[in-house]
């Protein structure tokens, strides 16, 4: 009996010693990423867990793509992910809503490892708010070499003429604030005033010239539009050239085969002279929710998901262009035609930092009106209305 008792006591003692070790706090983190990234994110997080065996992690995933992150976050900040990916045009709005944790741990190393533009895109008022993840959130021109030659591809007029001659189309989704900006930003600019309200000069003389160029483009026989429908619209079959981003690179390359080519956007005709089209240079960033329960661990995870190795993994699995300087210098990355075209276009690109949420709908509205060939109002009037709506408080 005594033995039994002592055994029981010993067992109790052992249990009481073991329990704290077993009951080590589990770090619960939620990660948001796009649908296509889920598998890849899962692998990255498993590697993260393996690299940090001193803590128990319980990481769950939510499907929220980078373009929707801000909207989804602001719906219910407390229920949002601890670590989430977003496009850098959302930084300003997110910071305004106090949504992002300042990146303070390992800041110098992160700043040194990534391209200056990427760091700048994640910085507001000299404070770094997010971890750069990719540097490919932009667009450029894909074209079919068998239809359009190297000379024609330099001007929009050349591309349209060549496409029409072959009874094919030039694809560009003009009814989208992101793409249509390429005309306006050639000479215009977006900014933010002291009150945090969007400023916009797209209705000045240069803006009207750009608007007229959009009108001419959308009225052209060879023009074709659609929501990111370059592939379903018939790239390679009925489409000879189109504006899109790296996410379509693999599919277009497969479709076009030897005729696959990509380059910077062409020039367009404004008031009789050729003007190089601009574009939005975008970065995708990884941010930490300011309301997270585990800031240190969430930061560690965000840093892990955006480190050199994982940026290369992103390139390999999803053909995304790295913002990490070393990863961008990788041979395979340099050999990628789409990323090379993006790099060419980057010389003319405009940072997406100073774009607020009010910009998108009015810009899309102008594009929609042009595509619908609704000429009840002249371009100047439409642009005045568009700018009034963009700069509304």
């Amino acid at each position: 009996m005594k033995k039994l008792l002592s055994l029981a006591l010993a067992l109790c003692l052992m249990l009481s010693l073991a329990v704290p070790a077993l009951a080590q706090e589990t770090v619960k983190l939620k990660v948001w990423g796009s649908q296509e990234d889920q598998v890849m994110l899962g692998e990255m997080v498993e590697a993260f867990k393996a690299a940090n065996p001193d803590k128990t992690y319980d990481v769950t995933f939510g499907v929220v793509g980078e373009p929707d992150a801000k909207t989804k976050y602001l719906e219910d900040p407390a229920a949002a992910a601890d670590v989430f990916a977003f496009a850098n045009d959302q930084v300003k709005d997110l910071v305004k809503a106090s949504a992002l944790y300042e990146v303070t741990r390992n800041k110098d190393a992160i700043v040194a490892a990534n391209a200056p533009g990427a760091i700048e895109s994640a910085t507001v008022a000299d404070v770094l708010y997010a971890y750069p993840m990719t540097a490919d959130n932009g667009y450029f021109l894909y074209y079919d070499k068998s239809v359009i030659n190297d000379e024609q591809v330099k001007t929009l007029d050349g591309i349209l003429a060549a496409a029409q001659a072959a009874n094919k189309k030039f694809f560009m989704n003009v009814s989208d604030g992101w793409y249509i900006a390429s005309f306006f930003l050639a000479k215009g600019s977006l900014g933010i005033d002291a009150n945090g309200v969007q400023t916009c000069d797209f209705n000045n003389e240069d803006g009207v010239a750009a608007g007229e160029a959009i009108k001419a483009l959308t009225a052209h026989e060879a023009f074709l539009t659609g929501d990111d429908a370059i592939l379903t619209g018939g790239m390679g079959d009925t489409i000879a050239a189109g504006v899109s981003g790296t996410w379509n690179a693999t599919a277009i390359q497969e479709k076009l085969g030897d005729n696959y080519a990509a380059t910077k956007l062409p020039t367009f005709t404004a008031n009789g002279e050729q003007v190089q089209m601009s574009s939005f240079a975008g970065y995708k960033l990884m941010g930490v929710n300011s309301l997270t329960e585990y800031p240190v661990e969430a930061m560690a995870l965000a840093e892990w998901l955006t480190n050199e190795a994982n940026q290369l993994k992103r390139f390999e699995m999803r053909a995304m262009g790295p913002s990490n300087i070393k990863a961008a210098g990788n041979e395979a990355v340099l050999a990628n035609a789409a990323l090379a075209a993006l790099a060419l276009q980057a010389n003319f690109a405009t940072s997406q930092n100073d774009v607020l949420g009010t910009y998108w709908s009015p810009a899309e509205a102008f594009g929609t009106t042009m595509e619908a060939k609704n000429y009840d109002k002249d371009v100047k009037t439409l642009l005045d209305e568009m700018v009034a709506a963009i700069t509304a408080k």
């Binding site: 909207t71 602001l74 719906e75 900040p77 407390a78 709005d93 305004k96 809503a97 106090s98 949504a99 944790y101 300042e102 303070t104 741990r105 009814s175 945090g196 074709l224 539009t225 659609g226 429908a229 379903t232 619209g233 300011s290 309301l291 800031p295 240190v296 930061m299 949420g357 009010t358 709908s361 009015p362 899309e364 509205a365 102008f366 929609t368 009106t369 595509e371 619908a372 609704n374 439409l382 642009l383 209305e385 568009m386 009034a388 709506a389 509304a392």
Partner: protein, 463 residues
Amino acid sequence: MSSMAVAKKRRKEKRSILKELYQTFRDGDAATRLSFLVMGFGCLRRGQIMKGLLYLAAQVLFIWFAFSFAWQHLSKIGTLGNVGMQRVWNEELQIYLRTPGDNSMLILLFSVLSILLFIGIVVLWRASIRSAYKAQNLAQAGQKLPSISDDLKALLNERFHMTMMTLPSLMVIAFTVLPTVFMVLIAFTNFDADHQPPGNMFTWVGLQNFSNLFGASALVSGTFSRILGWTMIWAVVATFTNYLFGMLLAIFINNRGIKLKSMWRTIFVITIAVPQFVSLMLMSQILHDLGPLNALLKQFGFIERSIPFLTDATSARITVLVVNLWVGIPYSMLITSGILMNIPKDLYESASIDGASPARMFFSITMPYMIFVTTPYLITAFVGNINNFNVIYLLTRGGPLVTDYYQAGKTDLLVTWLYKLTVERQNYSLASTIGIFVFVVSAGLSLIVYNASGSSRREEEFQ
């Protein structure tokens, strides 16, 4: 009863409650009077221990709740919070640690909850005084006081309605009244993307949102009036086209010359079997500028350029109305065919003997009969169409967008605009203002139309 008479009656009731309290205090003895301060005292004093204790417990609970919970929110209701989120640098962790500040949304929500509970305790307080007075009267008359088991039994018998209604009423208060009051109050704040809790705070702005909506902000009020116009056109046209075409279809199928009646009916009802949002999303794909329908028409050489079903203002408006027909006709066909079969045949027989044409019979017999019976249905359908989110949002997302609208497009209804303002722009206060307006419009119209209709005025005439 006219509204004035109602108001008068209300005032009378209110006066009588105060009068009753005053009379109770005047005629009550010490125990009853003390019940004004200590709930349940009168019951306890006269031996209704359990009942008295329950009242007392309610009071104690309420005082505890008021100090531990309600006060910390109610005290900030004037400003909706004034301490923002705090950050403190932690050298060891190398991060800013945060302490949450005031959360305006929770302050508002819990204040509303506290006020509702306060109203509840006032009702209980009055009940406690009443039972103290009742106990006093019974004791003075030398009668036996009802025990707790008598009271409980009463709840199962003559006061059974109270037992049955308690849970539903509490549910209605918690899930309907509380959120509604909260949402209405939001309309008087500046709760938008720039003032979003928990990072930021919002505060009261009075009628600012209403004045923005009705003229102070040209962009917003211009958008509002034009969207309101389209919403009304949409609601009227969508309701009546669905109704008329559904009825015509039902008449065709009911026609004596038509064979295989049930087969035809089944075919049309099959569209109901497909979930509405599925058919709408499919339609939106089919009607896309580069969609299958346009591709097909081009292939056959009917058209050169895509028809802008959803991207041109006028054609998009026509498209949503037509697709709505396709979605709605089966329902109105089902509803009307039953009523059509009920119209007495002798009416038609005598009409045809008198030499009336089918059109004449339709307008003189069928229509009046149908309208008479279905006015309440039409009102429901009309209000439903004012708020017909699915058809618009799933087909066009409110598009095509136009430059002179504030974050809205040509087919946006007030309700889809409201949705965009909340989900995409986080402009909750403006959306809430629009919500109040939509409610006033649909409730007002329903009441006016219903009261003016034959269904309500000549109810007894219906055979």
